[in-house]
Amino acid sequence: MFLNIGTVRDHLTARAGDSVWPDSASDTYTVIHSDLVITGDLRTDGHIEVNGRIEGTSNSRSILVREDGWIEGSILADIAEIRGTVVGAVRATTVIIGSNARVHGSIFHNSLTIEPGAQLEGRRPWRPQIDRKQETA
C-alpha cells in the first residue's frame, strides 16, 4: 500500500517535537479562502492555508495549498504540502505532493513525498538543507 500522508505527518511531528500544522485558531494560522486573491508577497513564521490565489512569493514555516489553491510565484517553507496548483519554484525541507497537485517549477527539497497522480513539470533537486530565513523567496 502506498505511504499514508498521516504517517508522514506523525513522523514529522515526532521529529519536530510539536504539531506540524498549528491550531487553526492560533495567531499564526493564516487562511486564504477561494474568494481571496493576493497580488504580492507573504511572509510569516506561522502557517498558511491556501484555498484561494496568490500571485507572488510566500515565505512561511509551513504552507498547505489545497485542491482549489493556486499560487503563481515561489514558495519557501520548512514544510510544504501541495494539493493544488503551483506555478513557480518550491523550496522546502519537507515537501508533500498530493495526487491532484500540479506543479510547474522546480522542487528543491530535503525530503520529498509524491502521491501517485500528481502532475509535476520541472526538476526536483535534493538539497542537504534548506534555510528559508537565509534565502529570499
Binding site: 493576493i38 510569516t44 507572488g56
Partner: protein
C-alpha cells in the same frame, strides 16, 4: 547525451503551457484570515469576508473587512462594510464604517454611515459617499451618481 538535460531543463518544459488561472470564485462562507504574524506586501482582492490581524502594505478590496486590534494596514481599504480596531494609514471607503476604540486611522473615511467609539484616534477627513466626487475622491467602485449609462449597451 545526458549532460544536455542538465543545461536547459526549464526551457524544455516551457512549450507546455502552464495551467490557466482559475476564474474568481463565489464568496466562501468563512472569512479569510491574515494572521497576526503575517506580513503581506501587495494587494488583496476578496469577494467575501476578510479578517486582517497582521500587517498589510497594499490596498484591500473586499465585501467586508475587519481590521483587528494590533493589525496594521498601509494602503486604501474599499469594501461594503469596514470594521476598524487596528491601525490604518490610508483612505477608507465603504458604505458602512465602524471604528472601535482601539483604532488608529490616519487618512480619510468616505462613508454612508459611520460609527466611532469614544477613544478612537482619527486623523483625517470624514466625507459622505455622495460628496466623494466633488471632494476629488478615489477610483470608483460603486459610483454614487444615479445615471444609468449601462442600459443602452445591454445585450
Amino acid at each position: 547525451m545526458f549532460s544536455q538535460s542538465n543545461k536547459q531543463p526549464e526551457a524544455k518544459s516551457q512549450p507546455q503551457a502552464s495551467p490557466p488561472a482559475p476564474a474568481p470564485r463565489k464568496p466562501s462562507a468563512e472569512p479569510s484570515i491574515i494572521s497576526a504574524d503575517l506580513r503581506v506586501v501587495g494587494d488583496l482582492h476578496c469577494s467575501g469576508d476578510l479578517q486582517v490581524k497582521g500587517n498589510v502594505e497594499g490596498d484591500i478590496k473586499s465585501r467586508s473587512v475587519s481590521i483587528g486590534e494590533g493589525a496594521h494596514v498601509q494602503g486604501s481599504v474599499m469594501a461594503e462594510t469596514v470594521h476598524i480596531a487596528g491601525s490604518i494609514k490610508g483612505q477608507v471607503e465603504a458604505p458602512a464604517v465602524t471604528v472601535a476604540r482601539s483604532a488608529r486611522v490616519q487618512g480619510d473615511i468616505v462613508h454612508q454611515t459611520l460609527a466611532v467609539e469614544a477613544g478612537a484616534f482619527l486623523d483625517g477627513n470624514c466625507r459622505h459617499l455622495d460628496n466623494k466626487a466633488a471632494a476629488g475622491g478615489i477610483s470608483p467602485m460603486k459610483t454614487a451618481k444615479p445615471e444609468e449609462k449601462k442600459t443602452a449597451t445591454a445585450s
